[in-house]
Symmetry: D2
Subunit: 286 residues, 4 copies
């Protein structure tokens, strides 16, 4: 069901986060620990911001498994960024093609998803009707995730996403709208749950949700770590404690290090909001 | 703009048609002679019938160029069939992904396309609305070709496609319907032409069109050769003359052999119909 | 460390063996049960004989994981054969490229390997020196497996491989020769073991070894099932009991079915020999 | 026969050199103008230096054609560098695998090749014998180019490559050594020529050769342009004239712009040497 990592803060070498830690995302692609889906080998993606060149992030995706991909190893060793997403995929909705690899990018916005949308096949055409021509054409793949992002972008058209508060509200509305579509067009007798762990960023601020439409079920795992800097210490990744305000945040499906100390669980049905000034807050989702 | 080959008749080794001839489809992928688009390197596909196993054809597609693909070379040397399609792609609408490789398959039907649909971006969502849920979901890629095929299948739902005459009519209606969508939703000021060279088969009968919506323009090239057997003779492919009725037909964007004698041009705005008994006729398209 | 399946006997649809069984090779690519290496996602290969066309087998390999490969699903549903190999790879020696996918083919001979050669890096150049120019050039990849096969072919040059007994001896000699190379050029202080589960066939007869150079260690798993026909029964694969002599044999790293009854373990340090007449015998390896 | 571009000097966005010019390398992959081999669709590679992170260059290679590769488009738009190589391949020696994509990297050194080595098959095993174990193992693919680079590195072991003059001499010696191997082990009756357009850099200095072993034949094309900065002007790439010393150099198989003015041909049998201070000189090769 996919695994993901998001980072915001002090510039860092991508491999220090994605490759070197004991339970790095690259290792999770082969053997995830906090998920029943062990193998996330149906492609991967990395998106990172290079603010001095463009507001649009760079993107590298592949349908190959992450664990043995030489390009991924090479690139992450040579790229630093202060804002990036990475994702390893276990295909559910949508086949194994580069168009179904996360993260998805639209201008300065980047999104990725861990989870699934119940009855997506049944609601897909109805969801697409809600999109303007530009966003209808923008969708290139077949995943529920990309379609969700398109609907979010549609809702955001008349809104000011430079306000993190607004981002939260549009995201919450999009979730509600998708659930309403499931209610209307899905098979209500089966009552399947949707799992919505989303990460969204514009390279400056970030938001991550941990959500399941059925509150009796556990949402997919999601943790975060705040600190001064994520460094390798005696072969182990360590999030150094911040002196004063935190300087970076790491959001991850799985704890990347053996030490539990640094990691905090995002509570179910909550969004984690991170401002440009690294102010972090939790907000309950409807 | 793609190149294609279709074969029906006496069982033949695929490589004898697709690889060995002087101007084989595999060579056309690298250097097409009868098209302004020289290189058709954005993937390929081969579909062939194995009637003793299934009415659905076998399919092998790849986003790699055909000219250096070892699997293609290996397979075509070891597979015989009495009905097959092969296609090399130069991507126009739809990116380079396996879902955009021709031929497309739906139950026993197989289709491929050389050409393009004017204003496809503008009509896509309107065309999709005409599809029932099953065909809406069946579409996996983003090409105009696959969407055209879906619309054909939609129109065919209440028709008896075992009659070649009916296949012709449904195909003609689908062409007209797509042209009507362009008229209604496209930008009429630009007046771009659509090029519709389609091949369709159920493994028994075959139909191939050579069509341009603007009759003042030359449609894409299309030839056919009828005979007893296509054989290699002194290193050259030769369609042997039939003794009595022909036993096989080769339909191809380009003449596969240097000799012109064997090849007949499909006239513009016509469909070539081939029955199970190898009766061949031309029919004018509206 | 890879998983493999070999089949010889009555013609069968490839998907009945490779895809449909409860613990099929395709499923083992994602989640192997009898190996510490759970995921075998670094490519796969299938080779099968089509005797009416050629003595050389057909080959289809890919660096993509088997579990979600559409071409593999399509092909195995449409190909029948009376002799075939299939292999899913977890890369050890040699990177993820099509040249490192098993099985390997040389004229009518086909080979695949589950295991590894200790100190391969150290012996590789010395092994290559033992090859004539033709076999030196024939090697395309970097695996110990392909190099082993090349050495076997070198040794076989003056021998009559139509005699299964000779095949056994050449194989045994090749194993001994590789072990001698390790002894001579490897780091003797580390004393690493080599694991040599090989399958070899010419499409008529077959041989499979289960071997570890260190007799105190358990070789990789290897089972076989003999019977009349492997069929699906109420959704479960079943090897039907032979009436009289067996008509087919299935050799597999893992039991493909839940039922243990049909399966026999190949004893450590043994080779399983299967003649053209389906005479099956075990022979102790030095 | 491949096409290549090398850049050294003032930091520039990779896409400004590799994608935007009228005759960019990406376009040459589809339709080269100064070569009989029109299509260079058998993979590509880009290597670039990020001195603030590492002396080893970053590397991105793919077996897909460059012309439609989304990762290449995305990356080159977001990466700036002051030293990089890019290469599009038409496979001659060595199949289509990532290990045969140029450039090749060894510590801080990077190499690429346009041309071919006569009788490579015949000399390969003899060349490999000249390599120490470390370089023998370092070779991953099957191209003459990578083997040439390995031999260069072998010769360089006892030399000080920080001196451009030394690099030139080692390169010249390697060429002579390979030609001697051809003389000794090749089929002298055929007298085939070798084409050696090599580019070599450590990210600071650069050397490029234009060489054919048969002086009666024209070597592969090679041009260079010196200037202050390569910029886009009214949709056309322009190398701006230097005010005083040049600040960058572009070395390319083909002129990247329509304007001939900026481009100088590297004379046959010469090496172009570029120092860290952008001193440019030509040196005759034996």
């Amino acid at each position: 069901m996919c695994r993901l990592v998001a980072y915001l803060g002090k510039e860092v070498l991508l491999s220090d986060i994605l490759v070197k830690p004991q339970n790095s995302l690259v290792l999770q692609s082969l053997y995830a620990k906090e998920s029943n889906t062990r193998t996330n080998g149906d492609g991967f993606g990395v998106g990172w911001y290079v603010p001095e060149i463009s507001t649009t992030p760079a993107l590298f995706v592949s349908v190959a498994p992450a664990w043995n991909n030489q390009n991924l190893l090479h690139l992450t060793k040579k790229v630093k960024s202060s804002a990036f997403f990475a994702h390893v995929r276990a295909a559910s909705a949508g086949g194994v093609t580069q168009y179904n690899c996360h993260p998805f990018i639209h201008h300065q916005w980047m999104m990725m998803h861990n989870g699934n949308t119940a009855e997506f096949k049944k609601i897909k055409r109805h969801l697409r009707r809600l999109l303007d021509d530009d966003l209808y054409d923008w969708v290139k793949g077949g995943t529920d995730s990309e379609h969700f992002f398109a609907l979010f972008l549609q809702r955001a058209k008349t809104r000011d996403l430079s306000q993190l508060d607004v981002v939260f509200h549009v995201l919450e509305e999009t979730i509600q709208e998708v659930l309403a579509l499931i209610q209307q067009y899905g098979d209500t007798s089966t009552q399947k749950a949707s799992f919505f762990n989303f990460c969204l960023t514009d390279g400056k601020q970030m938001i991550a949700t941990r959500y399941c439409s059925d509150t009796k079920l556990e949402p997919r795992t999601l943790h975060y770590a705040l600190g001064r800097e994520f460094v390798m210490h005696e072969g182990h990744g360590v999030m150094q404690e911040a002196i004063g305000s935190p300087e970076c945040i790491l959001i991850s499906s799985e704890k990347l290090t053996h030490s539990d100390a640094a990691w905090t669980v995002v509570p179910p049905q909550h969004a984690l909001l991170v401002t440009e000034n690294m102010d972090v807050s939790l907000r309950k989702l409807k």
